[in-house]
Amino acid sequence: MRAGGDQVSSGKFDYLGLALLVLGLALPWLLYPVLATNIVVWALFAVGFNLLLGYTGLLSFGHAMFFGGASYITGIVMLHTHLPMPAALLTGVAFSIGLAYLVGVLSIRTQGIYFAMITLAIAQVIYFAVTVFIGWTGGENGLQAVPRGTFFGLPLENDRVMYYAWLVIAVIAVAFVKRVIHSPFGQVLKAIRENEQRARSLGYNVDHYKLMAFILSAAVSGLAGGMLVVHQHFTVMDNVDWQTSGEVVMMTLLGGMGTVYGPIIGAAFYLLLSDRLAVLVNAPGVVIGLIFILTVLLFRRGIVGEIMGRLDARRARGGQEA
């Protein structure tokens, strides 16, 4: 799979973003609200992950440590302190940032598959920590009965209210990621993705930029993790496990890395599919895996990447005829 798709789109009106926003507003009336909220949370996780994979060219196979790790931290703060819920979310984000800094310092110089393996290994250490500190994490049972708290005075016990509160945060966070991608810093990230050696020869301290991208990506993933535990009332060890790291890779590739919105579509597609398959077949994982392979073979750039690529190609042809 290769990146691409949004190269020509800067400066144009963001139709896809608007369409997604409209769909996002309607979603809790089309699906049951808890599933809709899950889609928002995982979509945000995938968008944060893709800042690293799609725009910096780094494949982390341990992002569950940020998503799941922050879900525990935020949950613990909600359970054991009287801090307001947004502060609990921010604590989870701060945890992710600190962890990303440490992990990044250890791993950012490694290339390709080695980077994936080191991040995976460290993520398993975090998983192990969750199993050891049972008093805090609940071990096998997970963290239960986490209150939702209130969102700037707004009670969140209604699932649709909960959904819209999270939609607001997610829209802001995605807008932030989009800004990062289309910033001078983002330009350098893309340059590093395209040709790391050349970026170094131009005087860029590539490790510094990669570390910064890793931290930003982890911060967004941690925010999503905190949002997960608050809306579900619980978090479990699965959320820090390697399979979660794998799922976010799949969502991103399905939707199209190298596009801002691809991971959102990928996450929605993946979760809707899992939701339907869970009632239809015994081994949904196998079916999802097959569908994943097929999609990747048919749409090499992911769903959104492929559509945008074809639209751009058609526009280019139209431009020549005109």
Binding site: R2, A3, G4, Q7, S10, R179, V180, H182, S183, P184, F185, G186, Q187, V188, K190, A191, E194, N195, Q197, R198, A199, R200, S201, L202, G203, Y204, N205, V206, Y209, M212, L216
Partner: protein, 252 residues
């Protein structure tokens, strides 16, 4: 102390790859404002010397002095910021960025902008004019807004030169800028290099000897990692060892 007029010098450079000596006791003094060619048969160690000079490899022994300052084993970005900029033997651009952005990434590198992830990329528009100027110099104006990946081979090399020039290097290391080009492109590339070299120092690795003779002030001949001889084109080509070892019957 720096010797007068010497910008960049290699002093007894050696590089071993697992016991294989690719560069052996190489001494080169590059004089300010000259085009200095580095020639030699395939595998002579030319690219390795470039990798040493630009910090992409650390020498096994020996020193590199730039304007009186020891830069041996400094990291590539640091060396680039000192003003020694290299190109690569395999054309080295940013394929899925626009041609304009390829140059702008280079132009930005000395500013404070690249660290800013919170401002819009429109802030980089202050580099547009300079970037377009550089693209005009290399004849790529009409391709500015397309992706670099779609350029022809010769134009990619021209773009690569524009990227290097965007840094306003004081020393430019060019590794076979004409490799794989058709005769016409070679001619225009020669003119480009000549133009850019005015007021700068260029070290040029090149197999095409007519280009070497047209451009270079001094020539160092490498063979199996060692310096065979050094001199002007006339001196080098009349050196019997060079004729034996490298030129054979192929020159002129």
């Amino acid at each position: 102390m720096a010797e007068p007029g010497v910008v960049l010098s290699a002093k007894g450079l050696c590089k071993d790859f697992r016991g294989f000596r690719a560069v052996n006791d190489v001494c080169i003094d590059v004089l300010e404002g000259t085009i200095h060619a580095l020639i030699g048969p395939n595998g002579a160690g030319k690219t390795t010397v470039f990798n040493l000079l630009s910090g992409f490899l650390a020498p096994s022994s020996g020193d590199i002095i730039y304007r009186g300052r020891r830069i041996t084993s400094m990291a590539p970005p640091a060396i680039a910021r000192l003003g020694i900029v290299r190109s690569f033997q395999i054309s080295s651009i940013f394929p899925h960025l626009s041609v304009l952005d390829n140059v702008k990434v280079a132009l930005q590198s000395k500013s404070e902008l690249p660290k800013r992830f919170w401002v819009s990329e429109r802030t980089t528009s202050r580099f547009d004019a300079r970037a377009l100027e550089l693209l005009e110099d290399v004849g790529l104006t009409s391709y500015a807004y397309g992706l670099a990946v779609h350029l022809s081979y010769g134009r990619k090399r021209a773009l690569e030169l524009a990227i290097s020039m965007a840094l306003e290097p004081s020393v430019l290391l060019l590794d076979e800028p004409m490799a794989g080009m058709g005769a016409e492109d070679v001619e225009s590339m020669t003119e480009l290099v000549r133009g850019f070299a005015k007021g700068r120092t260029v070290v040029l690795v090149e197999h095409n000897l007519s280009v070497v003779s047209a451009l270079s002030d001094r020539i160092t001949v490498l063979q199996r990692g060692s310096v065979l001889t050094e001199g002007t084109y006339e001196e080098v080509r009349s050196n019997p060892q060079v004729i034996d070892a490298y030129l054979g019957g192929q020159h002129d």
